[in-house]
């Protein structure tokens, strides 16, 4: 029974990674850049819920909505101000800028909220699910997290496959010039991608802090890195890859913590990543882009 419980908690953590990894992978696919500030958007999303729900006593749905809106605006603004002027610049310049944005967001949070840990209150109010005569206890947070991730994944896949904007995103990912020749506003499409990724980061952050209820300006950093690993793991640029990579990472991390060593869990996660990349350099579901002749 305890194995199933660890596994389910792993899926829940993995769902959070998957939601963050989606943002990484979509932005990488379309802008060919690693947005290292993506993890810090999570932290901003959590502080918004903290201020609105816990300090101002606004209803939880209002807090979540505000958090999503503010993170979306933040993602689009960062892209417009910091990354767009660098389009066509060397990828190193873009990477350093992204790291700079990450520090900036962390330090702004430090300035406003201080370094002290804030205690987050879970936004989930559904009761835990007791199975097997009470021996298996699945928390409401785990249920909501996994369900949200699956629903978002299905919705996002349908959006990309079926909607005009989704198809435009795929077109811009593959060939910006050719996309423009179709009449697609390339800059607008990139902004939309940042918006979606940041909204997902807000959701991921709220779910994460509901499960692990401590909030500091650095809350987003480690999950951000893990989600980046998950995205690479699954195949950077691939949306199903982010999903699979996130879930796998969460499960491996939790099972390692439970059965091997909690100090070693992160090392094991990275070791698995290295092995996967040695065997399949494009990640589990990543594909080589075929050059046309």
């Amino acid at each position: 029974m305890s194995f199933i419980s660890y596994f389910i908690n792993g899926l829940s953590l993995g769902s959070v990674y998957a939601l963050i990894a989606l943002g990484y992978t979509m932005v990488y696919g379309i802008a060919k850049m690693l947005n290292f500030a993506h993890g810090d958007v999570i932290m901003v999303g959590c502080y918004v819920v903290f201020v609105t729900v816990i300090n101002l006593h606004l209803p939880v749905p209002v807090g979540i909505l505000l958090s999503i809106l503010i993170c979306t605006a933040l993602g689009v603004t960062v892209e417009r101000v910091a990354y767009k002027p660098l389009r066509g610049a060397s990828s190193l310049a873009v990477l350093i800028t992204a790291i700079g944005v990450s520090y900036l967001l962390q330090n702004i949070a430090l300035l406003i909220f201080g370094a002290n840990m804030k205690t987050f209150t879970s936004v989930v109010s559904i009761p835990p699910l007791k199975l097997a005569g009470g021996r298996l206890n699945i928390t409401g947070e785990a249920l909501v997290t996994v369900a949200s991730c699956v629903v978002i994944m299905v919705g996002l896949t349908a959006f990309i496959k079926k909607s005009k904007a989704g198809q435009a995103m795929l077109a811009v990912s593959e060939d910006k010039g050719a996309a423009q020749l179709m009449g697609i506003n390339v800059n607008g499409t990139i902004a939309l991608t940042f918006a979606i990724g940041s909204a997902l980061a807000a959701v991921a952050g709220i779910l994460l802090c509901s499960t692990y209820p401590s909030l500091t300006p650095y809350t987003g950093a480690m999950p951000g890195i893990k989600a980046f690993v998950a995205a690479v793991f699954g195949g950077i640029g691939s949306i199903p890859g982010a999903f699979v990579g996130g879930l796998l990472l969460g499960v491996i991390e939790n099972l390692s913590k439970a059965y091997i060593s909690s100090q070693m869990a992160d090392a094991i996660v990275f070791a698995v990543l290295i092995i996967v990349l040695l065997v399949k350099p494009t990640g589990i579901l990543g594909r080589q882009i075929h050059e046309k002749v």
Binding site: Q167, L170, E174, G177, G183, I184
Partner: protein
């Protein structure tokens, strides 16, 4: 009436001046050929016209409107389509999805469906392969997809960049037949080609580009008999 007017167009790549102030016109309803050797600036000219590269000076007018500073994606709605060099189909997307993207700027679903039927009618192979990723098509099929995709926006003028490049002779003939047919049905064509003989044989007007300047222009049939053109571009 000229649907496309280019006036003193200059394009720079960094310090390199790729176009040195060229001027030409495309009459509505005609086929105009732009020929020239590799590196002459043909692709650059088309890229400047549809906004893939910025022009450093000069004027571009489409249907009388100055589009020199218009973002490239907006010229599609204004009635211009571009079949790019090397086809540039979206290889991960299916044939059908590529064609739908060609109609990205159009809102009327019935009209888009009608255009799709028209394209499938003209290119039966695309219909057969509509659910296949475009990357799995042969070079000739990809060229047909690129042309079909451009027709999906229902353009008044199509600019085409070396549609016959790298294709086997059978496909080359087919592609030129299709260009002639598109033209007969009322679409203006600006055709860039290295296959000067074929291009001149279907064009009304032609311009010869050499290292960023237009060195010759005139009636396509007359240029075919021009000794300089024969020597430089039509020799076997």
């Amino acid at each position: 009436m000229a649907i496309l007017e280019i006036e003193d167009l200059e394009v720079h790549y960094g310090m390199i001046k790729a176009l040195k102030g060229i001027s030409f016109q495309v009459e509505e309803g005609s086929i105009v050929a732009l020929i020239g050797a590799n590196g002459a600036g043909k692709t650059t000219t088309l890229h400047a016209i549809t906004g893939l590269v910025p022009s450093s000076s000069g004027r571009i007018r489409l249907g009388g409107h100055d589009i020199t500073k218009t973002p490239g994606y907006k010229t599609v709605e204004m009635g211009m389509a571009h079949v790019p060099e090397g086809r540039r189909v979206f290889s991960q997307l299916t044939v059908y999805e590529n064609l739908k993207l060609g109609a990205y700027t159009r809102k009327n679903k019935q009209e888009v469906a009608a255009s799709l039927e028209m394209v499938y009618g003209r290119f039966p192979r695309l219909k057969e392969r509509r659910n296949q990723p475009a990357g799995t098509l042969s070079g000739g099929e990809q060229q047909m997809l690129a042309m079909g995709r451009s027709l999906m926006s229902h353009p008044r003028i199509i600019v085409m960049d070396e549609p016959s490049m790298g294709l086997s002779p059978i496909y080359v003939n087919e592609i030129f037949d299709i260009i002639a047919q598109i033209h007969r049905e009322g679409t203006t064509v600006l055709l860039v080609e290295q296959n000067a003989k074929k291009a001149l044989s279907i064009a009304d007007q032609a311009y010869v580009l050499e290292t960023g300047s237009i060195v010759l222009s005139g009636d396509a049939k007359e240029l075919m008999d021009n000794e300089d053109v024969k020597r430089a571009y039509l020799s076997e």
